[in-house]
Amino acid sequence: MSETILVIVEQREGKLNRVSWETITAGQAIAAATGWSLEAAVVGASPASIAGEVAAKKVAKVYAVESPKLEPYTPDAFAAGLKQFLGARQPKLVLMPHTYQVRDFVPKLATAMERTVISDCIGFKHENGKLIFTRQMFQGKLAADVSFASDAPWFGTFQNGAFRGDKAESAANPAAVETVRVEIADGVIRNQPQEVFKEAKQAVDLTQAEIIVSVGRGIKEQKNIEMAKQLADALGGDLAASRPICDSGWLPMDRQIGSSGQTVAPKLYLALGISGAIQHIVGMKGSRTIIAVNKDSEAPIFEIADYAIVGNLFDIVPPLIEEVKKAKAGG
């Protein structure tokens, strides 16, 4: 029996979460490297139509794993339903995108099956028949190659943007879709979730900004943000920030760039005093051009910067504002 890779595609409230295409791309790459076969599964109350969408990609089979108790999402239902399904299917490797929903249940699922999850991976290697997942540690300062020391199934989750969703290969003919009902007993589900909502104020949509000037902890004090705002204004761009700045209340939450905030891909992203923590990077690494100013030459932001300025932002930003103004005035 061939080993199987199973990608669990995420749907939320009946809509496919597009980051799942990245996981399909990852699954296809690992399948090519290992020779294992690739299947996919969609989990929900009525996942059939999303399963149909997934079947258009090059996978051997798609499962629609269903139970009315899988809607709304709860970790108890997902862990119980998937434990049943995976126990029956016995894949070698289970892959998911590292979303907030996956984080909420996959460690529970793996533990219930006495297995382990290597999470937030950015790549993989297949060396001498051994599958290794690569992930970032110490906020991106070091990379780690991690291997499984347990029996299958192995669980891995991939970071947003680690693979390209648009590179997921399509199938010549749609894959077969099989519906699998799972039974979730009464009393299993203990959480009662309410409606998902967006916080009332969303004054600025940074996803539309072409130029973003973003501040991190290096800005040191709230009053210094004014300087960054002047630069943003001079450039005709928008002001944004990493999470700690918003946690401190120095800028409102709708200015936050990162996994909990907005994901942006502007023409220009100017990072001032931002170290480059993973949760921030996932929100801006798609920017066309990244310029980083930080006094720490080892800051992980420089891994992804197109232009690096190692220095004190308080020395650099004021003359920069003047030069930008001069240039715009036709100087």
């Binding site: 460690p107 909502f197 891994e303 920069l320």
Partner: protein, 256 residues
């Protein structure tokens, strides 16, 4: 409310890291600090105790140096501390860490267990969720608000892209706490003095050995990440950097 806060000591954010001789871990001669999300978890526990009365207990696992995290927590107002003390705890995976914690507190009856949503060193975001499964408790992750209700708690779960969700849950429960849920307090001088007299129970590896097993995953190697991007450094005195950068913005990037 009896609340357990699981805390971790991690290398300081700006600590220069070097690989040790195995190449699979770092040299430990760096400065350490409390894992930032755990500081928010502790703060939340202290606030819940202020509202609802009860006890806040903090626990950590690690070598002697990890005691610093507990001392600071006691100084901020935690009532007592538990230190799973042994170098060996550093190398345990999340599953074994959770098993060790569960074993250390098996005779206690907590209403809530908090962890930070993830650690600044590993960044797995698993220990809290695993602990809930081991204990058979409900859990919720990335929590930004907790309110007591007649039948348990109502928590505000943070989702991506500015979305949130309220969830009603029974107690006891495990919650992983998001940074920014509150504002951190500083320890007062009185708090630091009082901390010295608060109970700090040490638990050796032998006490929890039977609960843990072999790690189910292994770090094969650590390394400085390979750079895939070509980065151009702009150097010189600030005035020159400003001119060079504006030149690039105008002529190469065409944003001016």
């Amino acid at each position: 409310m009896k609340i357990l806060v699981c805390m971790k000591q991690v290398p300081q954010k700006d600590a220069p890291l070097k690989l040790n001789e195995t190449g699979a871990w770092i040299r430990e001669d760096v400065s350490y600090e409390v894992n930032e999300p755990d500081a928010y978890a502790l703060e939340e526990a202290l606030r819940q105790r202020e509202k609802h009365k009860g006890e806040v207990v903090v626990i950590t696992s690690g070598p002697a140096r990890a005691q610093q995290v507990l001392r600071e927590a006691l100084a901020k107002g935690a009532d007592r501390a538990i230190h799973l003390e042994d170098n060996a705890f550093v190398g345990l995976d999340a599953l074994n860490t959770a098993k060790a914690f569960a074993a250390a507190v098996k005779d206690e009856k907590f209403d809530l267990i908090f962890t930070g949503l993830q650690s600044d060193d590993y960044g797995y975001a698993q220990t809290g969720v695993i602990l809930a499964e081991l204990l058979g408790w409900p859990h919720a992750t990335i929590i930004m608000q907790i309110e007591k209700t007649d039948v348990g708690i109502r928590v505000k779960r943070e989702l991506e892209a500015g979305y949130f969700q309220f969830v009603d849950m029974p107690l006891p429960a495990v919650l992983t706490i998001q940074s920014g849920i509150n504002k951190l307090r500083y320890a007062t001088l009185i708090g630091i003095k009082q901390a010295k007299n608060k109970p700090l129970r040490k638990v050796g590896l032998a006490e929890v050995q039977s609960a843990i097993g072999a790690n189910l995953q292994k770090i094969e190697r650590l390394y400085v990440p390979q750079k895939t991007k070509k980065t151009e450094h702009i150097e010189g005195p600030p005035a020159e950097i400003a001119k060079k950068l504006v030149d690039k913005l105008r002529n190469e990037l065409r944003v001016l």
